[in-house]
């Protein structure tokens, strides 16, 4: 009789000891971290994770491993529980950000401490779920607000926050934080909480109609992508025909802005032909800001900043960005480029 009980009791005691063992391990963590990193503990203990029994060990495994990774927890680990979100995340551009960063010649041209302080602070979102709902509170409410996006999507190269804030969507949201009244970033770009941030986005940051992997989209495919955004999001508030008109207007703005860029490029290429600029000038996507000449630097501003403000400003419905920071500056830069070309030609001719 007793023998029949031995095996199950062994199993039971193992189970119990595992349970006790796990608690002891947490106690190990807390015995230091409750005091040493009080803020982390506070954030975790008040979080949903703590309520649901997700603790240090669940994500960090053990002290050695955590140390080796400098406490980083990869999205795959989060994805073990948050499977759907992880799968969605992999469909969007955020899941490529580190790879794209490393390919970029500007990143390669920077010394290591600068890479850490500059590019990596934002582009490592590929490796970090806590970019938006930050550790250790992992608070959804925090992540939903425009400020969560703002830390990266701001500033010279991509002032989405500023564009949004100077649009009617953003100004109404600022006053009345009600996503039924006016959209936040997440309303349009993470509709229904999808973690595929490329949802509804037709163009990459260079304005090319490509999918996340860089494959060119056909006209029909582009329309499909756009419809996703327009149907699911915009039509909730806006009249169909007017919405489509607005997007088409933004398309036109984008094309016209590109035409200005092309005009500016033409001027520079002509100087290259005439031998006034050395051959092999890099313009646009792979251009560095450590360029050799002023005329290239003016073009850098046009393509990296002013053109971006114009067309992205148009799609975010910020007249201020689309016009003043964008178009007007594109035009002024074009004036400068033409004038610079004239000066360079004069200097060359009188030698």
């Amino acid at each position: 009789m007793l023998r029949k009980l031995i095996f199950p009791s062994i199993i039971l005691s193992l189970l119990f000891s595992y349970h006790v063992w796990s608690e002891e391990k947490i106690g190990d963590c807390l015995s230091c971290h409750q005091k040493e990193t009080r803020g982390i503990f506070q954030a975790w203990v008040n979080s949903k994770h703590a309520q649901k029994g997700v603790d240090c060990i669940t994500c960090h495994k053990n002290h050695e491993e955590a140390r080796a990774k400098k406490a980083a927890v990869e999205p795959q680990v989060c994805g073990q529980c948050h499977q759907e979100k992880f799968r969605q995340f992999l469909q969007g551009r955020h899941s490529l950000s580190r790879i794209r960063m490393k390919e970029h010649p500007q990143y390669q041209a920077l010394p290591d401490p600068l890479r850490k302080a500059f590019c990596e602070r934002c582009h490592l979102i590929q490796d970090r779920c806590n970019s938006c709902h930050t550790s250790h509170a992992f608070n959804r409410e925090e992540a939903k607000e425009p400020e969560a996006c703002k830390k990266c999507h701001t500033g010279l190269a991509g002032p989405h926050d500023e564009m949004y804030a100077s649009s009617l969507h953003g100004t109404i949201y600022a006053v009345d934080k009600n996503a039924v009244r006016a959209p936040s970033c997440a309303s349009c770009h993470m509709h229904r909480g999808t973690h595929n941030v490329s949802f509804g986005v037709v163009y990459d940051s260079w304005g090319n109609p490509v999918n996340k992997d860089g494959k060119l989209l056909s006209k029909e495919e582009q329309e499909e992508v756009r419809k996703g955004m327009v149907k699911e999001v915009c039509f909730q508030c806006h009249i169909k025909s007017l919405t489509l008109e607005r997007f088409e207007l933004a398309d036109t703005v984008k094309q016209r802005a590109k035409a200005l860029l092309d005009e500016a490029e033409k001027v520079i290429r002509e100087l290259e032909q005439e031998g006034i600029l050395p051959k092999g000038v890099v313009l646009g996507r792979n251009q560095l800001y450590q360029g050799p000449s002023r005329i290239e630097a003016i073009y850098y501003r046009m393509s990296q900043f002013q053109n971006v403000y114009t067309w992205k400003g148009a799609y975010h419905f910020s007249a201020d960005f689309a016009h003043w920071y964008g178009w007007a500056h594109l035009q002024m830069s074009l004036v400068e480029i033409k004038d610079e070309a004239r000066k360079l030609r004069e200097l060359k001719s009188k030698k």
Binding site: G39, L114, A117, K150, K151, G155, Y289, Q290
Partner: protein, 312 residues
């Protein structure tokens, strides 16, 4: 009566009440205040070349509005409410610590600290300015500032403008790390601050490169207006002044290009390194500095070309 004494006295002082008066009751705060840079803000302003180069009548609308903190406790907790809640809010600091020459407010607001604080308004979740810079309510605003430049000096100096020792730097850095480790692991905080140290060094190195073409131009006598033809610098006289205390008035164009580079853009690189705003340290800071450098070199080339032509 407690503060203004009587109408006569108040009238004479234009209703100003100096920190020493507040210190009669708030002794601890006053003594802490006197250890920090806020307590010399006005004196330091008065000897700055840029300040002296501004017409006297309008200085009150410019520098003095912020630098008068030396003489006014109500800069942060505004009279007459003297509300602690108001003083603790980042906007209290943000009314002076903002703008192209020192965009602390903007850097903070585009950092993770600032964005989380904005959403949660919970200082246990994310720090606000005073969390790091006035921990436990210390009024010593120089707390934890370990690395220079500070103000206009390349190294951190004490209030008598004597550079602090290496040990002094270490102990200040330790003080700040104690704040960071309230939330972060020590390793993390130390790495971040040390990386910021390196970012700062790179920024200054780049800035130095901006000076070279200008010095060459000056040697060839190509600065227009020349140093002898322009008003002498209020504190430096007839020398080429690049970086602090460079003026933005009366200089040549190439010097003006450098002014933007050092005064607005370099500041962002290094201060935003320490405030962890990638957008300000990179896009608004380093990128702009690189573009400035191009402009400076081009201008120098043009001036040299023009000289060649004139010689023909």
């Amino acid at each position: 009566m407690t503060c203004h004494i009587d109408h006569q006295a108040a009238s004479e002082q234009k209703a100003m009440v100096f920190p020493e008066k507040c210190g009669e009751c708030h002794k601890k705060q006053l003594s802490e205040f006197q250890k920090g840079r806020h307590s010399i803000a006005f004196d330091r302003m008065r000897i700055q070349g840029e300040y002296l180069a501004i017409p006297r009548e309008i200085r009150g609308a410019f520098c003095e509005r912020c630098h008068s903190i030396q003489k006014r406790c109500n800069s942060c907790h505004g009279s007459h409410k003297f509300s602690l809640k108001e003083a603790r809010d980042p906007d209290a600091c943000g009314s002076c610590h903002l703008g192209p020459d020192h965009p602390h407010k903007e850097m903070y607001e585009t950092s993770l600290h600032g964005t989380i604080y904005k959403i949660t308004e919970n200082p246990e979740r994310a720090p606000r300015c005073i969390t790091c810079h006035m921990p436990n309510g210390t009024h010593d605003s120089s707390f934890g500032i370990a690395r220079g430049p500070a103000g206009t000096r390349p190294e951190v100096v004490d209030l008598k403008e004597v550079p602090i020792s290496k040990e002094g730097e270490q102990s200040r850095r330790e003080e700040m790390l104690k704040v960071c480790t309230g939330c972060h692991s020590r390793r993390f905080a130390q790495e971040q601050l040390e990386n910021a140290d390196r970012v700062k060094e790179e920024g200054f190195r780049l800035m130095e490169r901006g000076k070279e073409p200008i010095k060459e131009i000056e040697k060839e006598g190509l600065l227009y207006p020349s140093l002898s033809a322009r008003m002498p610098h209020p504190t430096e006289g007839r020398t080429l002044v690049l970086a602090d205390p460079q003026l933005y008035v009366g200089t040549s164009y190439i010097e003006r290009l450098f002014f933007t580079m050092f005064k607005f853009h370099n500041i962002r690189v290094w201060k935003s390194g320490y405030h962890f705003s990638p957008s300000y340290t990179h896009g608004y800071g380093w990128t702009e500095m690189q573009l400035d450098l191009i402009d400076i070199k081009e201008e120098a080339n043009k001036l040299k070309e023009m000289l060649k032509k004139m010689k023909k």
